[in-house]
Symmetry: C2
Subunit: 308 residues, 2 copies
């Protein structure tokens, strides 16, 4: 019988990873409304925006206005993802609580994503770390394509560990490493293996997992992570977002499906599922199409059918 | 680190559990085409039809014609689900390889489903078993709402074990017991608990699991079953079907998502995933709307994106 943690911390990435993979433009005031509603569900970590070049990701061109417009709920950490020093400076100016930096484990994905070799990205990451360090702003280092690369297929575990090692040599150090399954190529056995290796090699480092449900096994991968004692997970309300490599495919795992499964398993999240479902409904109305969330359609397990 | 079985046997229930929950009428020749295509994928068990009253489930009114029309591929077991003696006689007349009988663990679901108390269903099951026994036709006994009831919520584990015990007293005995999560109320911890109890109580009985993905945790529930050594699972190609209790919600777990996850984990199914995807595409064209399958949209993990 597997052991499970008593509590899990979810980072809601819908406003960023979700929205930036939606084709419609969501106006600034709707983004603000959504983030404010999310902060009222019990969620303690919200990835609100990314500070990237507006030409690269037009959906995030209003990032500074969004951050300026939200009500900063006490106890909630609002983060932004940044690709470079310019982004880090904007995150500092916006007064984020935390920042995510990222690079890919595989060379080809990194090159496609940020037009740099991984070694160059590591150099740029040191610049970013310095800027954040001076501002005393903690950061999480995300390793994309940690469970597979859409161009290269399998990514050697040693490669993932090497990138993690290099990221942990940054000064200051990231507060956490996130292993990202950017295009939904993980499976539970691979999660078990990579997380196990990570924990053996870096026993004192906080590990977070970022799964996509591209091939339907997202929550099975979460289960494998939970069984290894991981308590930090990313997810997106409503299953907002998609996959740039497969038109029509889903993106991040769905927050309410994750929360529903965890609560049913007796694992606490601190999140009010009904309030979260309201947020998912709001997000659905903003993007104007049906979201892949299951619990949004079926309701939580506890919502019984009347018998007559 | 969890242990996993080397091989899993999948029963494809799309032509029955899938189609009977679709609102469109699929013509007899299309049903036959689909079942014949499925038998060519490496699948060894196909639930082809149900022999129920045509007024109860009009989509299955052509069951005998479907069975008469299919090519019986060698090595493939074609089964039918039957609710009563009349259905059993029709299954025998059709020359099925195997039959599924069913009843619910919860009284209210059983009453809604077959208008009988569970005790009455057990009596009827003995009649059915006698008919099948005389025809030397093996049968699987499915316990619906084993992980929760849409009317009653939690179903006591003792209740599920009691129904299983009664079904195992039938003469002849079922070749297998299937625990059904009829409306997607299972979670991995509950699967672990109920399967564990079952295996303790009935160590010599073959157990099969039938999950629905209504709340998104279908493959996580499969993982919990695999970790308990279960090797028999039901699923539906394309995620064909739906949930009568939640309009718009998905039904059975999707066969290609299950096969993709199992193969990625190194667990054999004997199924050709590309051929299976062709069947799912065929099913999608027959029902005329997008199916919830993930791998149908994203392709298997091994289908890489060209790098230019």
């Amino acid at each position: 019988m597997a052991n499970y943690p008593a509590q899990v911390s979810i980072r809601e990435v819908g406003p960023r990873d979700g929205l930036q993979n939606e084709s419609v433009w969501v106006p600034t005031e709707q983004k603000i409304e959504l983030i404010n509603a999310l902060a009222n569900t019990g969620l303690k970590r919200i990835e609100a925006v990314s500070f990237v070049h507006p030409k690269a990701i037009p959906q995030m061109r209003d990032a500074a206005e969004v951050v300026a417009g939200i009500e900063r709920a006490p106890g909630v950490s609002y983060s932004a993802i940044v690709p470079n020093a310019a982004g880090a400076n904007r995150a500092v100016a916006a007064g984020m609580d935390e920042v995510e930096i990222f690079m890919s484990a595989s060379e080809s994905h990194n090159r496609k994503n940020v037009r740099m070799a991984v070694a160059e990205s590591l150099g740029a990451a040191q610049q970013v770390a310095r800027i954040l360090g001076e501002a005393k702003m903690p950061f999480d280092a995300v390793i994309s394509t940690a469970f597979g690369c859409p161009y290269e297929g399998d990514v050697p575990v040693e490669r993932v560990m090497w990138v993690a090692e290099k990221l942990l040599e940054l000064s200051p150090k990231p507060v956490r490493i996130t292993l990202g399954d950017t295009t939904g190529m993980a499976n539970p056995r691979l999660v078990d293996r990579i997380v196990g290796e990570f924990q053996d090699k870096f026993p004192d480092v906080t590990l977070s997992l970022h799964f996509h449900n591209t091939r339907g096994s997202g929550l099975a991968n979460v289960l494998a992570g939970l069984q290894r004692g991981v308590t930090y997970f990313d997810s997106s309300l409503g299953g907002l977002g998609g996959c740039p490599y497969a038109p029509g495919a889903t993106g991040n795992i769905t927050t309410e499906d994750l929360v529903n499964m965890l609560h049913d398993m007796g694992i606490q999240t601190g999140i009010d599922l009904e309030k979260l479902l309201e947020c998912a409904r709001l997000a659905q109305s903003f993007v104007g199409h049906e979201l892949p969330s299951q619990v949004l359609k079926a309701g939580p397990r506890t919502r019984l059918t009347p018998f007559h």
